[in-house]
Subunit: 877 residues, 2 copies
């Protein structure tokens, strides 16, 4: 049968999984002897059971609820639904992880037509009693029965108008009675003739169900997805004796933190209202007072509160966020929890708690949400300007930061105007590899299409450039260079501002402020580096990004995409000539002209790395990504190659692919055109040897072959690479060492990892492609259906953002085990977008990878997440 | 150290893996006491070792070769390179499986400038000796040293011209000496000043190396790919004492079969030449005599040959293909092997051998190459007409059969002219789902693009329609409706003929003859059905195909693709209206009009199946495949829907996908638009109930959800299906049963098969998509690089034709094990193209599937392959 219901006094803080956070803390505070209105918790398991029973609460659970209720009646000396002195309760959700505002609450439950009279008599305050009842009807109808709130608000407005009053507070007890009467009518009408339930036990069971149901409302689902909370946890329900802060001048209610949640400053921070209920604080009718004012109003309560709050912080060894109510001079705590805080506050509090001797360094490291570090590293808008700014639209917060600048519609325009010293925002339908230089020039990027892992989003995050993507509401006219959004039409050169952390788009030129990374940040990162086992590398293709990443703590480059080097003006023609050549000789001639460029690029990268290692991925994208689409470019190319426009077009057309993602790319290119790998090897080896000699760095080039699915593929390319590398060594009289490895990004590579490991020095899991191929959908196309998947609870999170440990992870684990078995010296890493996602980093730690590699701005996140993983999973050597 | 070289007398027929087919049979014949020129075999392991040692023959192997050679000298009483009576040998390849003509042979090895004089003296035939030497120089230079043959042919032509003669045979001994002199000059010049090797031991080792090398020549690689022969087997080398059929009128050489390889008729079938070497038979200078003529020429030899040939057939219990040479009245067998034969011959021989008591039914079943049955089931060209026909081009033999008809360039034209009674050949750049009806109307299909698994190829094989695909040489002008090939230009209405079994394209209207499937076929199929464990189903979407498949032995439908039903004229508009609708109501309205059509389709299918089961796959392709691209169609649709052309176009554009293969398709469609699944379920259930009642068949609809990658996806769609199905049952007052299962075609589905099995009644492995996603390349795009992969020995076969057991097969096995573990009643099958490939069928048998499903014309192949798998793998229950 099991135990489905716990009295507060039966639980404790460690029972969070079963009782939810709120329930566990209410139990803990009860055990601490704090003033808590007593009650009980219906467990998260009961919630899971409710869903398993096709949304029914079993007989057994109902029985246990009523048993707990009887205890509560005795404890309070009041009866549920009593005519003299009725017991009233609140019914609140409380999940394992805090999900503020996501689920539903019902207050004053237990009132009915007769009990309300008892309450009126007992309190001697009929207006209070009737007000409580009408509030209950309203809340119950809305939350439990889904009668729209607006119906009741309309009634209130009508009554106020009839009475000629402006505020609710001006309504009399009789007015409240009138409201109750009319509310019940609304209820009956909407519920098909059913009367408002008068039986408190029925009210209670329906309310519990409603809370269970609210676990799966759309905003809760979406919140869970954003915060990595599993959908099968379920919520507990807390049933607690009501206390009232609205019983006169010696009553009140408030919220307080033990430290400032925005700055981390030590000291009670909060506000309260005398003679009010929690609702009133939210409604904003009256302005709350700072908590210090309570000392004047109710000095005893204030002293008791301060004392208990400090005790709570000491007990939980963390900053507390508390709700309290004072009923006729008696203080009650309704809730305490570890307070949410901004990233700067989190870092300061963690350092302060260590200095105060309350927590260890390891604990400090675990107290900071790794993801939140993102906030610290980018420019933000001046908060005042933000308040006044006009939001003209909103889309996906694809890459954090704040940007304001003049709108341009092509990469070329963006680059040119940037060169003239303008701040530029690039607005595109979607971006492609050709836009890279324009993206580099821009303060921010706004796209009409594409999701969180679209080209624009991925590249922008890599660069640390603010990006808002997938703004479908934009009507763009690329020819006339205008776009319309939120009723405004913008022409080339008009100002807009983007907030990449919220996805908001603003009219005009909002002022921004730089990120201020204080000493606390460095201190926490130092602790993280001390405890983590994983190395942290970065994905970077330019010296600027590399220097930035090194500044943020990167220990090397895990992924240098060489094709990005081909798009600059001085190279693209050469690569196009290579592609359009008919013979090996022509291709080799075109490629040989590329060697000096690519070599200089590699030299610059090695110099930026100052001795740190670099994994260089050879050419990956299909060749059609390099050929021109613009008629002007085609003509130019034809003229330069001495071909007709038709010939160039037809050759470009031949490169067309039905599914470019699954086409002629990666090592498949090197197998059909080994001369490309030869060129890249020569450039890389010469660069490494020269920098090694010039700067005395101990460089060991790491050559990474993409898209391998068979050991023989890697073997073939490896032979090509080794032949050229050895030749260059001989020419340069060098003894430089080098490694050849592969990406594991095709499912077959993971399945056959043992064989592949025998010819590889390292594996790097390319989890972007591996996710796409394992799921069988492309991230560019998934946008069309993923929303339906979230809404129908088929997926809880975006597998491109958070690694799918069950499916893709199974392949990775298989590959790690087989690879290590066949090649114990195999080095293992990951270089997909997941390298910067904390839960994915933890997975990488657990399965024993050597490093993760992520975009530069995620390096601190990865460092912290790796430390947390090491601390929470001490088993790994 | 190991044993690398075996004398013939040391081996036997069971040592085929080590000695190759030829070597094992020479050993066996030696043991049988037959007249065999003695020799030895260098093993296949030595070949593998040669490749492992970076193309070197180890000291040890060379030592063993020379030891064997010494034995051979003693045996023959002749010395290698002797001045008086030199030992001459032939050096021939011999792999485990017969690969006729694929690898190299060198005759007369052991001759040099002095030994040739000995031979001349000993035989008293200087011309013979010099001719043998010049042939050896020519062969050795070509095969071993890669000096082009043409250089030598040019010399022969020059000498003949100088002597004023026409035929080689007219050249004198002195002319031969002149040839020898000049051949050696050619050799020296081409070999950078090196003389022709005079040391016979050096000649031998170089020749052995050349044979090893020839294992990896391009034509051998390609032959292996076509015949499923693994590249790591290697070839053995047979070194055998030369015998000469060209030593006068009592000498000769010939080839014979114990039964007719074309018809299977019993009786010696072969031909020979008096006073000739094997080469001369091939050169076609003289016309060979039928073997019966030998009785007149050399009656003793004939009698001995007949006796031994019959003994060989009895010994091997199969039809033999033998080579023999008669040297001065003495008969030698040079080779015997099981003879290659046509499919009709194979079937007749198998039946005859059973009737003659030589083999069992099981052996008979295993004697027929399953793939070859393809030849029996399609129309073929009249062989005489074929000889006279002009081949204008050649491309991939995508779907077997012969077709002749008038050329049309659009599906619509093809259909219209077919309706007027014309025989039609559809010529397209490539085909798409819209062309289905035109393809149905055509006798044959010719495409410019696409490989063996392109849309055209797959659909044509399914229909049993002849198809030649990927003819890149065609210059097509779709607007003017003409194409050019092989110097001809064809206009609409001109005749061409296609041979889908060879890939040849002929000018004009060649007459065809229907397939004649005699009683032998039925008898063999009967045995196959008796021994196989796998059920054989078919992939079929139309009643005509279904009836055909049932006639060919299909036990049900394993894959009925419902979307093919949407393309007919009377439906496509409705489906387009559904797609372009904005609201659920509009979509439901459009879909409800489709129900009667789809229901009638299902009813017709069930009636054609006469009680056999059918697995119906719900809509799979992305919606953009259904929308019009033709401007006229767009206008029409806009008019009919009351929308502007712009609106229709823009809605169609929105459906664009970057990677349609990995886009919004399969169950993803049903999750975003559950109304489609509702429509299909209603149509199917109503059809099943009606046919069940009308015809009293025991129908259990099998509903298959495509592209599932997560148990929750299937659960969601299953709930939609069950809801409608139960509703229909209630409406119709029916107790019909039904199953809901899924395709396993996304790697993640295989990885998580255990979870999925808990909500599935059956799995069907969609190995086409599973192969694409596991390898990470699309079959439409792979053509660009697969040839390089074969050439570089990275892949040995097309993974879309032959299941990749190592990679994709690993996923399938995993899914079978996990699926059965969680749901022991799970039914398992396969419905990709691989269902008709014999080696893949064997794999399916071994891992314990319940059925395979393939295109109708492959059903007999699958039946036979399944029987062979069961006989060869008796372990499975």
């Amino acid at each position: 049968m099991g135990k489905w219901v716990y009295l507060f006094k039966e639980g404790n803080a460690n029972m969070r999984e079963l009782l939810g956070g709120k329930g566990a803390n209410l139990a803990e505070m009860t055990n601490l002897g704090m003033p808590i209105p007593q009650g009980f918790t219906v467990t998260t398991e009961a919630c899971t059971d409710y869903y398993k029973q096709d949304k029914k609460i079993s007989e057994e659970i109902q029985k246990q609820i009523f048993e707990a209720l009887r205890w509560l009646e005795e404890e309070n000396g009041k009866k549920f639904g009593d005519n003299e002195d009725p017991l009233l309760v609140s019914v609140r959700s409380g999940a394992r992880a805090s999900m503020p505002g996501m689920m539903d609450t019902i207050l004053n439950l237990g009132l009915n037509d007769t009990a309300v009279e008892g309450l009126a008599k007992k309190t001697g305050n009929p207006r209070f009693a009737y007000d409580s009842y009408r509030r209950f009807i309203q809340m119950f109808s809305d939350v439990v029965m889904e009668v729209p709130k607006s119906f009741f608000e309309k009634v209130i407005d009508e009554v106020k108008e009839a009475r000629g009053v402006t505020y609710d507070i001006e309504l009399t007890a009789d007015d409240m009675l009138e409201l109750i009467r009319r509310f019940k009518e609304v209820y009956k009408k909407h519920m098909g003739g059913q009367d408002f339930p008068q039986e408190p036990q029925e009210q209670l069971i329906e309310a519990v169900k409603a809370v269970f149901r609210s676990w799966d409302n759309p905003r809760a689902i979406s919140y869970r997805r954003m915060n990595d909370i599993p959908g099968d946890w379920g919520t507990a329900v807390n049933v607690q004796t009501m206390v009232f802060g609205n019983m006169g001048e010696s009553s009140g209610t408030g919220v307080a933190f033990t430290r400032n949640p925005a700055t981390g400053e030590k000291g009670i921070f909060g506000e309260y209202l005398i003679n009010a209920q929690g609702e009133d604080v939210v409604a904003g009718v009256r302005t709350p007072q700072p908590i210090s004012k309570l000392e004047e109003d109710l000095p005893d309560c204030y002293a008791q509160f301060m004392h208990l709050a400090m005790n709570l912080e000491k007990h939980y060894r963390d900053m507390q966020d508390m709700e309290f109510t004072i009923q006729e001079g008696k203080l009650y705590f309704l809730q305490t929890r570890n307070g949410k805080r901004t990233a700067p506050a989190a870092i300061k509090i963690a350092c302060d708690l260590v200095d105060e001797g309350m927590i260890s360094e390891k604990e400090a490291v675990c107290r900071i949400e790794a993801k939140s570090l993102d906030q610290l590293l980018h420019r933000t808008f001046d908060p005042k300007a933000l308040e006044e700014g006009e939001v003209i639209g909103s889309a996906l917060p694809a890459s954090p930061g704040a940007a304001a600048g003049k709108v341009y519609f092509t990469a070329e325009d963006a680059r040119n105007h940037h060169a003239q010293g303008e701040r530029v925002v690039l607005v595109r339908l979607e971006t492609s590899a050709e836009d890279i230089e324009g993206m580099h020039a821009a303060e921010g990027i706004l796209t009409v299409r594409g999701g969180m892992t679209s080209h624009a989003a991925v590249v922008a995050r890599g660069m640390g450039t603010c990006c808002v993507s997938g703004c479908g509401e934009i009507k763009i006219n690329e020819e006339e260079k205008t776009f319309t959004l939120g009723g405004h039409t913008y022409h080339e050169g008009d100002y807009i501002s983007l907030d990449g952390s919220t996805g908001n788009i603003y009219d005009g030129d909002l002022p921004t402020v730089p990120a201020s990374v204080g000493g606390y940040f460095g201190r926490v990162m130092g602790w993280a580096d001390k405890y983590r086992k994983l190395q942290i590398r970065t994905n970077s293709d330019t010296p600027v990004d590399t220097e930035n990443a090194v500044r943020l703590g990167a220990e090397g480059i895990g992924l240098c995409r060489t094709e990005h080097m081909f798009f600059a003006d001085d190279r693209i023609f050469k690569i196009r000539r290579m592609i359009l050549s008919d013979t090996l000789e022509e291709r080799e001639a075109a490629l040989s002209e590329l060697i000096p460029f690519q070599k200089e690029d590699f030299k610059a990268m090695y110099k930026a790395l100052r001795g740190r290692p670099m994994t260089v991925r050879y050419i990956d994208p299909p060749l059609h990504e390099f050929v021109p689409t613009d008629p002007e470019d085609i003509e130019k190319l034809a003229a330069e190659m001495g071909l007709s426009v038709e010939e160039v077009k037809s050759r470009c057309d031949e490169l067309h692919e039905f599914n470019p993602m699954m086409g002629h790319r990666g090592c498949r290119l090197t197998i059909t055109y080994p001369e490309i790998a030869r060129m890249q090897t020569r450039a890389l080896m010469e660069a490494a040897i020269e920098v090694k000699e010039e700067d005395m760095y101990d460089i060991v080039p790491e050559i990474m072959i993409p898209l391998v699915g068979d050991a023989k593929e890697l073997e073939f390319v490896r032979n090509v690479v080794v032949e050229v590398a050895e030749k260059v060594k001989k020419e340069r009289n060098s003894y430089i060492n080098y490694h050849v490895g592969t990406m594991i990004e095709v499912p077959r590579a993971a399945l056959l990892a043992g064989e592949i490991a025998e010819v590889a020095d390292f594996f790097s899991f390319g989890t972007n492609d591996l996710t796409q191929m394992t799921f069988g959908f492309s991230r560019d196309d998934a946008g069309k259906f993923l929303e339906s998947y979230y809404a129908n609870k088929i997926y809880e999170s975006d597998p491109f953002a958070k690694l799918d440990q069950k499916g893709v992870g199974k392949l990775i684990k298989m590959a790690v085990e087989q690879g290590r078995e066949k090649n114990p010296g195999l080095k293992l890493g990951i270089c997909g977008e997941h390298g910067g996602d904390p839960s994915s980093v933890e997975f990488c730690h657990k399965i024993g990878l050597n490093y993760v590699s992520c975009s530069p701005y995620r390096v601190p996140i990865a460092r912290l997440a790796a430390a947390q993983a090491a601390i929470n999973n001490p088993g790994r050597i």
